[in-house]
Structures are given as C-alpha cells and as structure tokens.
Point group: C2
Chain length 227, copies 2
DNA sequence: ATCATTGTGATTGGATGCAATGACGTCTAT
DNA sequence: ATAGACGTCATTGCATCCAATCACAATGAT
C-alpha cells in the first residue's frame, strides 16, 4: 500500500534499524534536528520507509548513545546538554582521545599523515562553518582510524556526536579566522606523529580538547536555560 | 494462553525492555550465561513473560553496551573478550574512574566513607569468591555514587559489566587471601578521601586498576582462544 | 473567574503473524 | 567414500494490529 515501503525493498538483512539510526544521527549532526526536537515514531518510519518496530529499535540505540532522550509513554526528543554536561563530555574526551591515539598512531601510514595535513590546510582556508566542522571531524577521526579497538573508537565517536551541535553553535558565533590556534595545534599533531612522538601528539590532543572545553564554557549562551 | 504472561500483568509503563535487559545483564554478571552463550529471542521472551519485541530492544541495548554480540539473521551471543580487548577496557577504566571519582568525592558523606570502610573490612574476611566480587563492586560503586554525571557513571558501570566474567575467572584462580594488596589499596582510598585528598585517591584508584589489568594479563588462560 | 474533572484524540507500548534468511541434515553423483 | 547440491526446519526481521497511557481541551462546580 505505502509507496515509501517499495523504495526499501525487503532487504531483510537486519539493517533497517541501523539505517534508521544512522539517518537520525546524521540529521541531528547536520542540525536538521536541533536539541529538544520531538521525534515521532510514525513520522520517522515514513521518512525511512520502514515500520515503527525498527524505528523504536533505532531510538533505543540512540538513547543509549545519549543522542536521544526517551520518556515512557510520552515520546522521544533530541537530547539537550547543559553547559555542565557538555563539560563532562569534554573532560571524558580529554582522557580517552589521547589513549585512542596511542592505539591508532602506530598504524597510521605516511599517506594518512599526508591526508591529515591536507585536511588541516583546507580547514585554514575555508570560510564555511559547516565545511570547517566537517574537516575538523575528519582530521581527528583519520588520526584515530588506525586503532582497531573494541569500543574505544565507537565511544569517542559517540562523544563527538553528542556535542556536535554545541560545537557548531560556538563556531558560528566566533570568527572562523580567529581559530588560528586550532590550525597550529593540528599542524603540531601531524608533525609530532611524523616524528613518531606519540606521547607528544597525545599531549597536544589533550590540550586541544581542554582548550576547546574552556572556549565553550566562556559562551554559556549556547546552552539550554539550565546551564 | 501463556501463564508466564500473567505474572507480568500489563504494566505498560515502557519498562518491559528495560526489565528484560536488566535480567539478562544480571544473568551474565552472575555467570549463569557465560561468554559465547546463545541467546534465543523466544526463550528469553518466555522467561521474562514478554513478547519478542521488548526482548529485541533489550538485546539491542545490551549490544550497544557491549555485553551481547548481535549478528543479523543469525542470532545473539554473550560477548567474548580477548585478552587484548579486556586490556582495552581496563585502560579505559584507568582513565575514566579517576575522573569519575573527582565528580563523586566532594559529595560523599561521612556515612558513605564509613560504609566503604565496612565493605573493605568485610572483603578482607570473606572466603567466598562471589561475595568477594560483590563487595568489591559495591565498594567502588559507592565511591562513585556521589557523582551526578550525565554519562560517566553509566559508562563506568558498563565497563565493569563487560569484564565481570573475567574478574570472576581470575579471582577463582588465585587464592582470595593472596589479595592482601587489594585491601591495602581500598583502605588507602578511604583514608585519602577522608583527608579530602581527592587527587591522591584518584591516583590510587588508577594504580589499583592498572595493577589488576596486569594481573589479568598474567593469566591468558582465562581468555578465549584468540588471546 | 478559577480550578478541578472528565472525555476525546493522538501516540506510544506490546503482541501476534508472516516472509525471509541461514543452519543443518540428507541424498546423489563422481 | 567424499564432496556438492538440495530440501527442510528452526529462528530471526519486519509489518500489522490492538490496548494502554498521556496531553489537552471542553465542561461543570465552587
């Protein structure tokens, strides 16, 4: 009956809920679904050409990840972070990302480092906030791509996802060109990694995150009322 | 028709999947479901007096937590950790638990510290491995109970859950009385917390976890073939 | 006029049913 | 005898269906 269902023709490969979750995740990341947005099961189901069952599983998945807040018999909303909570995520990142870099660094190829360098350069030149954020994320994720970890990699990705909104809000607030120090840090990370100085790179990453945390803390207006 | 269903009489408060997840979690923690066990949806559904829908949501939840491994069109198994993966979890704990203690410590009451002391003493006296593990967990969780965190507390609890099996296997392997150093560390944690030396306590916790990690690494026979 | 109350509609939670996939055993051909 | 192909069965994935709960508005009482 439904035409939308025909577009997703019975793949039955167990990927429906995963596809829905990925779609919602992306919509949140892109700012299409800002924090506090209501998520109606039926609406989502229609959008992705699925029934409500995989949608519910996707929402569950996103809830555990912290991206979505579920209330029984009431509904689902895109999670909002207070400033305090955002700082918690950043402090967690400060501890985990240096560790993840230790896992990843030994397996990064020269090509990977070149690509990181290119991303850092592109960031310094772009004017577009969205592009800036995309490149930044890609830079760091590439630096972590060598680590074949059980959960650490996924965990860090989740932490990035939950704070993406506030990073965007902040970046849109300040001048992109005022972020010169970001580029210096990125170049320094690549340089130390080239030298095989993993500890140094990890230290820079930690400082990089800490500095960003403090920048965010200086702009409480980004956050929800109860900051 | 099913009698089991009558025992869970239509609470409809959205807690079915959560109850199922909690039940499976506990069964895994208690060793009733060892790593590698197959989890059949229908079987679980009957056991908890629910239909397969909440069971699937529970399995999804446990998969994200890392306790269960889901394979599309095939089934669900209790996750197995290699030694390398277990070490990753422990390294993650080494970084996160000191941070969590920083959140918690300022809100711990004198009563909490007394209770921790009592738990540490009880641990030193028990002969039972299961009791030993229960007390150990309670001791640490109590030390973290003051932290009103968004995700850090849950995260740490999850990390404990995924490695519980291997802690038990290790504890059963060695003599309980050989763990004197554990008790010293626990007393030291309580003492430093009483002094208000959070940094010192955090440092001890970090060392405590690191030492345990190395103890586990010395017993590769605990782990699954691909260690 | 304000507050409590009741009823209606929208939306979620959970149960059942059916199609599809995968595993396993059996049969056949070389 | 062994390897490959086929068919059956158990089990999962998803859609549909029904009941319970909640939000909100309209009504009535103080």
């Amino acid at each position: 009956m439904s035409t939308a269902r025909q577009l997703a023709p019975a793949t039955r490969d167990g990927s429906a809920s995963r596809r829905v979750a990925a779609g919602i995740r992306e919509a949140i990341a892109h700012g299409e679904l800002p924090p506090g947005s209501r998520l109606r099961q039926e609406e989502i189901a229609e959008r992705f050409g699925a029934s409500r069952v995989p949608v519910r599983e996707a929402l569950k998945e996103l809830e555990i990840e912290g991206l979505v807040t579920l209330v029984a018999n009431s509904g689902a909303w895109v999670s909002q972070l207070t400033m305090r909570e955002c700082e918690e995520v950043y402090q967690t990142r400060e501890r985990l990302e240096p560790l993840l870099l230790h896992y990843s660094a030994p397996h990064l190829s020269a090509d990977d480092l070149d690509a990181m360098d290119a991303l850092a350069r592109a960031m310094a030149e772009t004017e577009d906030v969205v592009e800036f954020l995309r490149l930044d994320r890609e830079f760091h994720m590439l630096s972590y791509s060598g680590g074949e970890t059980l959960m650490l990699g996924d965990l860090v990705r989740r932490l990035w996802n939950t704070t993406q909104q506030y990073r965007r809000a902040y970046t849109m607030l300040v001048d992109v060109h005022a972020q010169r120090i970001v580029h210096d840090e990125h170049r320094h990370i690549v340089a130390t990694l080239r030298d095989g100085d993993v500890e140094g790179a990890a230290h820079t990453v930690e400082g990089h995150i800490r500095r960003t945390r403090r920048m965010l803390a200086a702009h409480p207006e980004i956050f929800t009322p109860t900051g």
